[in-house]
Symmetry: C2
Subunit: 343 residues, 2 copies
DNA sequence: TTAGGTTTTGAATGCGCATTCATAAAATGC
DNA sequence: GCATTTTATGAATGCGCATTCAAAACCTAA
């Protein structure tokens, strides 16, 4: 059907050399005399030759593609990260085989099988967890793997997250400094390290000052659940004067619910703080005070880590936590004495 | 380094058959006696054998992966579409090699080369254009290709869009029926068919009623430009009482600028209508009246079209326009007599 | 029972490239 | 100028699977 593609052998014949020579010209780290190289290159150009990546992969065992499993794409943090990830990986000559996943273990397993069948050189899990048995397999098969924005206890797993615990604590200090007395938390999924750590840090921060949460609801990073949680909080006995929400995506829903369903003002009546600092946070409609999770750096570190694992440096296995600082905007009362470092 | 992988030949030896027999068991449309099939399958299971997709691709010339080039990921329409695309393609047994692109011809060319080197079976361009020379190449090389949410005149190109012209016209009729007198348009990129068609339809709709735009600014689907355009419009001599914005993504910026910078109310002072109906449109903060572009159907049709082209049915080449209806919400004055079909 | 026909199966080959190994060419030393 | 080391090249082989083709096994009918 399609016109037969030109192979290295065709170029070789035209250039009057052997096929391996052509292969060497287009390969990396292989040497050919200037003279032949020129002949080969012109012949290749005349024929419009391009090496077949697949054949190369089959021969070398290295595909220059990495598998990416991502979920929660409705949270703008992930499209943003995805875009950067693509950029950085492409710069390093890697391709991305992408899969969307709900967060079910069996589904992940299937996807990973699929990735392995396709000979990916490494895998990035963006905001998805991995089962123990799957970890066993991947480690045994020596497949480099990094968890992005999600940590797991297993010491064999590398991950890049922000300093979620610290971030949560910072928020607590900020809200306390603002004199809030009735603080609640609408948390991210407690089945995820990010959700747990942010919450734990937050609670710790309150506790250190002798305060306790007046309410804490797991809304699993979902807008609808966050809105529902907000309703429960504001229909309760004690209504909060501050809410820390597990990520920005949910925080927007919380803010809207507070405003439209309860007619309260932000931050006059209620302070809201989020986590992520997605670009939407600075939209005037939200102007959300939030913990800035630097997607750029997280992506860079993720790729760096993965690539060095691919290069065989398994000492790279580590759990990296990127600093996460508070981005003060207008959705939460600003304490008088708060150090105004940001801007 | 990694444990040597088990090949079909290993399974064959263990099952006491030949390698081709194993190949036939795992291939499609190939027959093997029940007896041998069982032996092979148990042997394969015992060894944990999985066929190497790459080798298969090399042998068959069909990779079961499609290349996806996408830009404007900051517009939530595309993450939404991407997610569905992934779902539908995976269901059909296809994988996605994804590339982000700014919209520059040369960059696209490079990406496409890359895709071809990787032997993709087909390509989807999501919201990116394609040059004539590239079209020539792809057509000559017989690479199936579908443009998603972007049309081009070239008769050799397939595309799936919504009925942008009609959509634009509908908005015009809606705003006219609402009695608006000073209507402006902040358009999508006029270098894209979507941007042009929506604008053309809108203008036509106005013209048919004897009205004209009081202002029309190309904001190239970008938030910042849309905000800037809004400022220009509202600082002008005649202040609009209605604005049709080329997509929701920009419309949000327009609404915010109108509210926060000019202190005007929507829809009392100004009506705003968008295009796409991304999920954010129904958030209370925006409650945006907009043209609903059914991502689900568009994705399904795109995949259907692409797959039948891959199956060799090039009669499938066509330009498909999906119906786009108005989703009436609260961001624009609702005419008394407007047929309330939606919900 | 045997000729003719229908399936099944295996040996051989190719997909396009990289790599080992042996040989030829060039460069170096004295 | 010759022996020795270094470098450049080509023939052969393998990556893992699918497919052609011919041989073998199985059926069917008379």
């Amino acid at each position: 059907m399609a016109k037969k593609s030109i192979r290295a052998a065709d170029v070789a014949k035209r250039a009057g050399v052997s096929q391996p020579t052509v292969s060497r010209v287009f390969g990396v780290g292989t040497k050919v005399s200037k003279k032949l190289e020129l002949k080969v290159k012109t012949a290749a150009a005349e024929l419009g030759y391009r090496p077949n990546t697949l054949a190369r992969t089959l021969a070398t065992g290295c595909s220059k593609t990495i598998g990416l499993i991502v979920s929660f794409l409705e949270n703008p943090f992930y499209p943003e990260a995805l875009e950067k990830l693509s950029l950085v990986l492409n710069e390093s000559g890697y391709h991305i085989l992408i899969f969307m996943a709900a967060n079910q273990a069996e589904e992940i397993d299937t996807i990973v099988e699929d990735l392995l069948d396709n000979q990916v050189d490494g895998i990035i899990f963006a905001s998805v967890g991995i089962s123990n048995t799957l970890t066993d397999r991947l480690v045994k098969e020596n497949i480099p793997l990094v968890l992005f924005n999600r940590g797991q206890d297993d010491p064999r797993l590398s991950s890049v997250t922000s300093a979620n615990f610290e971030g949560g604590r910072t928020v607590a200090q900020f809200l306390l400094a603002g004199g809030h007395q009735r603080i609640a938390h609408i948390s991210g999924w407690q089945g995820s390290s990010t959700g747990r750590d942010r919450q734990a840090g937050f609670i710790k921060g309150l506790k250190d000052a002798g305060q306790e949460l007046i309410g804490c609801i797991d809304s699993r990073f979902r807008r609808s659940l966050a809105a529902e949680a907000t309703r429960r909080l504001f229909l309760g006995e004690i209504i909060p004067d501050a809410i820390f929400v597990g990520n920005d995506h949910m925080a927007f829903a919380v803010m809207e619910t507070i405003r439209t369903e309860f007619g309260l003002r932000i931050p006059e009546d209620v302070s809201v703080v989020g986590y992520d600092d997605v670009s939407m946070s600075e939209w005037p409609s939200f102007n959300l005070t939030t913990i800035r999770q630097p997607a750029n750096r997280m992506v860079e570190e993720t790729v760096k880590m993965l690539l060095s694992m691919i290069d065989g440096d398994f000492l790279t296995v580590q759990k990296l936590e990127i600093d996460a600082s508070l981005q003060v905007r207008g959705s939460a009362r600003i304490p008088e004495e708060w150090p105004n470092e940001e801007f």
